[in-house]
Structure formats: structure tokens, C-alpha cells
Symmetry: C2
Subunit: 165 residues, 2 copies
Amino acid sequence: MADEDQVAAKERKILVAVDEGEESMYALSWCLKNIISQSSKDTLILLYAKPPRAVYSSLDGSGYLFSADIMVTMDKYSNSVAACVIDKAKRICREQADHEVKMEVKIESGDPRDVICQFADEIKADVLVLGTHGYGLIKRAFLGSVSTHCAQNVKCPVLIVKKPK
Amino acid sequence: MADEDQVAAKERKILVAVDEGEESMYALSWCLKNIISQSSKDTLILLYAKPPRAVYSSLDGSGYLFSADIMVTMDKYSNSVAACVIDKAKRICREQADHEVKMEVKIESGDPRDVICQFADEIKADVLVLGTHGYGLIKRAFLGSVSTHCAQNVKCPVLIVKKPK
């Protein structure tokens, strides 16, 4: 029975990458119901990757269209989107977890693929949980699938949760 | 508290694709420690994809090298490999699960990518667990990553477990 206690007592770091999409919120919700057990001392870490400034600039082919004012406005917008995503994720945790879950929040700027992989390895996450369409704020800005990239590059186990249609 | 009981009582089908590689056995082991909780009524389903006859034939460019005898021998070999993989997986379950786990075994012939995707959807698995190098018996016979293919094509959540180096 020593094994049982050991399993129950293990403190796992469960990293959930969240974004604006319903898919990532579904993944979070699935994780709360299926991974985080009541007996565990898990820490749930919510990670949100904010698009970096370079993304706005890349939308502007000429390099001159976006004035400094617009950049400031987009920064503000992007911060409020981040706050909104994190709020929603926290609400889901409060409402759907069947016990109190220890939670941490991290917001980083950058390509979600890099941000997620680097952070997962940095904190030595026990498992990374992702939705299937984690493309971040401006979907077209990043080519390729975030989940596929992370599954191939992150060291820890990766759980990819698809939202049923 | 109604929610708690509901979560605990839910019978989940946890499908683990196993093969000859250490990676899939590690994935099974991780799953036993992290997904299957004592309170759950989970059924663990072990799935092994046997290489189909076509794979041996494709190794034989001329189409004449492999006699019927050799084909029979390779069929026998492939059956004993399947038995060996399943035995090993069952042993891991017995030794590492902290409680008795309801278990089923399924052996199918075919490209592991198709076998796994079809079976996961067919049984409406709650989660599919995979190692990262599930290439089956003859690694070179199937191009591309099984885990990537399954993550993209299976309807249920997919957990990809990488064996630490």
C-alpha cells in the first residue's frame, strides 16, 4: 500500500495552455474532470501566449501603416484579451473542479509554439494539456499546428484534447 | 457533492496502444500512475497492431523472394511477438497499478495508424494513450509518426507520452 500513498502524495505540475478558442477551454475542463483527482496535490498552471508585437508588424507589409498610436492600442487590446482568457479559465476551474485546485497563471509573449515548449520544459511540467486549435489571437499569424509542434518538441507527456463537434 | 459522485462513478474507456517498443510500455506505466485513479471504474483496453502480410511482401521487391513457407513462419513470428507484447503489458498493469484494473485486450492486423484511429473511434474511447515511437514491428515499413497521425485523426483526447532519455 506504500505505492498508493506515494501516488496520491505526488505533487504534479499540470500545465494547460489556454487561448481565446473554445477548444482550449474544453481541454481545461476535460483535464479538471479526468486528470486532476481529489486526492492529488496537483498544481494547475494556466499558460497564455500573447502574440508578440512582431505579429502586428508582420500584418503590415509596408512597415509604415501602423502608427505608434495603433501599436499602443493593439498592446492594450492584447492585454485585455489575455486578462479575459485567464478570467474565463479561472471561472471554469472554480465551477468545474470538484475540489479546490492550487492554481498559477503565466502570461508570456511570443509564438505559442515556442512559449509553450520552453515553459513546459522550464518548469518540468508533469503533463502539458492542449486543445487542438491553439493558434492564439491572430490565427493566420502562425502557420502549422501548435499541438503537433508541442507533441513533437516538449519533453513531458502531452495531452491533446479535441472538442467534440 | 453530486458532481463528485458523478465523476468518480463515470466508467471511462482508456485505450492504450502498445507495441514492442519501450516507449509504449512507458506510456502504459505513466497512464496507470497518472490517469487511472483508484476511485474510478475505468476499463483499460490494450490494443496491439500486428503488421499485415502486405508488409512482409513489400520488403520483397521482386515479389518472389518470400516463399509460402517463409510467410507462414513470419505469421507465426508475428503472432508470438503480439503475445509477448500483450504479456508484458499485462505484467506492467499487475505490478504497477495500485488497485485492480479492469482490462481488455485487442489485437488487430494493419498499419498501426489506421488500426488505432479506427478502433478508438469504434469503441468511443475516452482517451487514447500512445508512446512517441509506436512504429510497430518493422519500423521502416510505415513512414510518418503514428502519434502525430493519431492526434490529428482520432476524435477523442490523445495523450502522447515521451519516455525520458
